[in-house]
């Protein structure tokens, strides 16, 4: 039960956020965020996706607390190898007698690292290239978009393979390889958005205030492209996780004994018939997280995409 | 004589976060074979009124009426099949922007002939289509028959659209701002076409517009709508004798070519008009 005092306080905060007449910059901004949150909250699948993604973050943060066993060193190889799921080992153990649940919990760190780094590298690069090309047009556009086309022409997994083969296997190189191949679609998306935005009257208006191109692109064009790019990045996350897992599966991503979901599946496939849980459990983890990102992306699209809002 | 269309106590509401909002609140009128103008500003519910008559209220909205009768047919109880027979064949609608109402990947001729075929006339579809294009004063109907919508200018597109809506010879035409996107000179030509169709074919016309002056010169009778209600119904010729302060305010606040009233009188809205 909440006491009447806190309910009153909550009501006050809500009114402050939803005020039609904000009194400060901060209130206006928070109000806008709160309104978006209210709209997002109504989307059940989106909320489920958000829950999954938040759970991933929490699990990665508190892996040390959650995991009951050490993910790297196994138990007694004579008695504890390939045990089926039980109360002692929630998801069983693998061929080196390591607790699979603990490895999946620690593996979430690798997954989160991949997701975060790829998003942090690919999104700004894509946005910058796309908006610049779209805003200036002409030869700038031609040069930037041909470069984008070249990157787009590389098959992602093959480029990642080549990259990793050249620099040596490891999760860092895998991330760089994935990031390099994933920004071009964002650049194209941002460029397409920019082409429609740059002819808008409000861009003409700020141009007539004497604003420099940098100010216009940074302050006026990018914020409008950002939401569709974020949506796209979120929806692509599932693919990125799968690519990382694929590299791990091929032995080119995270190296043993590092717990990485893809590599775990690869290790478990030898026992697939007799000891199904070894490969299945990390598979379920990949599936759930990918699905979570897809739901989140769909939910975000419903809230942020101006085209979907017009209804 | 029975009116062509009777509307009594039409109400349309849309859901919102704060409960349903009524955008049309009890509109009643009868239409014979005449030109009826519905005038109002944005948000007055004039367009929703027009759509509701054709059963085109958006799915999220809810339209109710005590009576909604077209030529003896109770439109409130009309089935999907009945609507299909009515719409296009007996009652049509012309929208503001032809761009959104014509199929962009089909020639005008094809779309026209399809409309004719759907509603019966199979044999002479082509001849009928050509005749209709001529009737809306398109000078080169053969060329327009083979043109795609984007190849036509705004005025031509709007005329093609009117031709499409009229090729089935409906008894009732609802024109929602049919000329607002057009230049004044073209606008008058399009109105002339509509005018002839009313007087020659005895069609009933509901002309929805924000332009009080245009409506008053074109229509026989005018309904003035404000916030979902009809605040005044008046013969177009007697508009200058309008009594409701809203109608008078709307007339007064328009700048005139002759006369130099400055500042322009501003419409003072009265909360009592909402009651």
């Amino acid at each position: 039960m909440t006491s009447p005092d806190t309910t009153l306080e909550k009501q006050g905060l809500r009114n402050w956020l939803l005020s039609e007449q904000p009194a400060s910059r901060r209130q206006a901004r928070f109000g806008q965020v709160y309104r978006t949150w209210l709209a997002f909250r109504g989307n059940r699948l989106g909320m489920l996706g958000l829950g999954i993604v938040l759970a991933l973050v929490l699990v990665a943060l508190f892996a040390g607390v959650i995991a009951p066993y050490d993910p790297l060193t196994g138990g007694d190889l004579r008695t504890e190898r390939l045990l089926p799921p039980s109360w002692e080992h929630l998801m069983g153990t693998d061929d080196l007698a390591r607790d699979i649940f603990s490895r999946i919990v620690y593996g979430s760190r690798v997954t989160l690292l991949v997701v975060a780094l790829v998003a942090a590298i690919a999104t700004p690069v894509g946005l910058l290239v796309g908006t610049t090309a779209g805003y200036f047009g002409g030869w700038v556009d031609t040069v930037l978009m041909r470069v984008t086309d070249i990157f787009l022409a590389f098959p992602r997994l093959i480029l990642a393979l080549a990259f990793v083969a050249a620099l040596g296997p490891g999760i860092e190189n895998a991330i760089i390889a994935i990031a390099i191949t994933s920004w071009p679609p964002y650049a194209r998306l941002a460029r397409a958005e920019t082409l429609t935005i740059r002819n808008a009257e409000h861009i003409d208006a700020i141009r007539l205030q004497g604003a420099s191109p940098v100010r216009i692109i940074w302050g006026h064009v990018m914020p409008l492209c950002l939401s569709s790019v974020i949506i796209r990045v979120t929806l692509d996350m599932a693919g990125i996780i799968l690519t990382a897992a694929g590299l791990g599966f091929l032995g080119l991503g995270a190296q043993p004994p590092q717990p990485e979901w893809g590599a775990m599946i690869a290790a478990g496939r030898r026992f697939l018939i007799d000891y199904w849980w070894v490969a299945t459990m990390p598979g379920i983890a990949i599936f759930v997280v990918s699905l979570g990102f897809n739901f989140l992306g769909d939910g975000l699209r419903d809230v942020l995409d101006p085209k979907a809002q017009q209804q | 004589m029975n009116p062509l269309l009777s509307v009594e106590n039409l109400r349309i509401s849309f859901p919102s976060r704060r409960g349903p909002v009524e955008v049309v609140r009890g509109v009643s009128f009868h239409l014979g074979r005449e030109r009826l103008g519905i005038v109002g500003e944005s948000g007055s519910g004039k367009s929703q009124t027009g759509r509701a008559i054709l059963g085109l209220t958006p799915p999220s909205g809810r339209a109710t009426a005590d009576r909604l009768e077209f030529d003896g047919i109770d439109l409130r109880k009309a089935s999907t099949a009945q609507w299909r027979q009515l719409r296009g064949a007996r009652m049509s609608m012309v929208m503001q922007d032809p761009k959104y109402s014509l199929n962009p990947v089909m020639t005008i001729g094809k779309q026209l002939m399809e409309a004719v075929r759907i509603h019966g006339g199979k044999a002479d579809a082509r001849a009928k289509s050509l005749a209709m294009l001529e009737a809306v004063q398109i000078r080169d109907p053969e060329r327009v028959m083979h043109a795609y919508p984007h190849e036509l200018s705004g005025g031509m597109g709007q005329r093609a659209m009117i031709a499409m809506m009229l090729v089935t010879e409906p008894d009732l035409l609802i024109a929602d701002e049919p000329t607002s996107a057009l230049d004044v000179t073209v606008q008058i030509e399009v109105l002339r076409i509509l005018d002839r169709l009313v007087s020659e074919r005895g069609m009933g016309l509901i002309f929805i517009s924000h332009d009080l002056e245009l409506v008053s010169t074109f229509c026989d009778r005018v309904l003035v709508m404000y916030a979902g209600r009809v605040v005044e119904e008046i013969d177009a010729a007697r508009l200058s004798e309008a009594e409701h302060p809203y109608t008078r305010g709307l007339l007064g606040c328009l700048p005139k070519i002759v006369g130099d009233q400055r500042p322009l009188p501003v419409l003072a809205r009265d909360a009592r008009w909402l009651e």
Binding site: E20, Q21, P22, A23, S24, R25, Q27, A28, Q32, A200, E201, H202, D204, A205, I206, R207, L208, Q209, G210, A211, R215, G219, H220, L224, P306 | E41, S42, G154, D183, V184, T185, V186, Q187, I188, E189, L191, D195, H210, D211, L212, E213, L214, S216, T217, F218, G249, L250, C253, L254, P255, K256, I257, V258, D260, R262, P263, L264, P265, V266, L267
Partner: protein
């Protein structure tokens, strides 16, 4: 000397196969403190005159002089402090994610004005909105209120000339009257010079002392307000426009297109 002088302005859009000759030899001059109207139908080039003046459309040939000095391409910052523009569609001319505060502060920041807070509040009061609107987003405003913000944005750099591109054609009639009154008052208070583009003869006749009728990128004629009111025109095209703007006439009128 006239404040705005345009001589034989030609504007050509596009290159290669598709060339559009938007303006063919347009000349006009506007005195300081005057309100000058440009009237015509779509495609007449009336808006292009404004856009070419402020650098949003290319000047292919001819000269544009402000205060007797030819404008440079691109326009220098001092140009924007003297000439500002209000656009037609208040729903498109404000950035959807920026508060009114940001819309009004940004030009001040660009041009390094001092006392920004006070200037923003002053501008909001000037256009009849009041400071309560300062931190709202455009979607929280009606069309008329948005257009007032757009006018405040144009005023905030204290220009001498305001180019008005159909400033009321997207508004309801009652809101149009309010905005026209506001523009009238601001002109008197700030000693502004207006160039107003409209398709509506009545609006131009109300707002402008002199006007120019355009068709197909060319000047049809220049008239004073009095001449327009007296229908004292020698050109058929102007006469047709005048007749058409009086509403529908049931009697068969002569063909309006030459």
């Amino acid at each position: 000397m006239a404040l705005i002088e345009i001589e034989n302005l030609e504007v050509v859009f596009g290159g290669g196969g598709r060339i559009v000759h938007a303006l063919r030899g347009v000349s006009l001059s506007v005195e300081e403190g005057e309100s000058f109207g440009l009237v015509g139908e779509s495609g007449s080039g009336k808006s292009t005159v404004l856009r070419a003046t402020c650098g949003l459309a290319p000047v292919t040939a001819g000269r544009i002089l402000i205060d007797g000095i030819p404008v440079t391409t691109p326009r220098d910052p001092s140009f924007y402090r003297r000439v500002q523009m209000v656009f037609q569609d208040p729903y498109a001319s404000l950035h959807p994610r920026h508060t009114i505060d940001r819309v009004l502060s940004e030009p001040l920041a660009i041009h390094g004005f001092d006392r920004r807070e006070a200037r923003v509040e002053r501008a909001l009061i000037d256009v009849g909105l009041g400071t309560g609107f300062r931190f709202r987003y455009p979607h929280q405003l009606s069309g008329g209120q948005r257009q007032r913000v757009a006018i405040a944005r144009a005023l905030i750099l204290e220009p001498k000339v305001i180019l008005l591109d159909e400033p009321t054609s997207a508004l309801d009639a009652s809101i149009q009257a309010e905005v026209l009154n506001l523009l009238d008052r601001l002109r008197a208070e700030h000693g502004l010079t207006y160039v107003l583009v409209s398709h509506d003869l009545a609006v131009v006749a109300h707002m402008c002392e002199r006007l120019m009728v355009m068709q197909g990128g060319q000047v049809v004629e220049q008239l004073s307000r009095e001449a327009l009111q007296a229908h004292a025109t020698t050109k058929d095209y102007t006469r047709n426009l005048l007749t058409a703007s009086e509403g529908f006439t049931r009697a068969p009128a002569p063909q309006s297109r030459p």
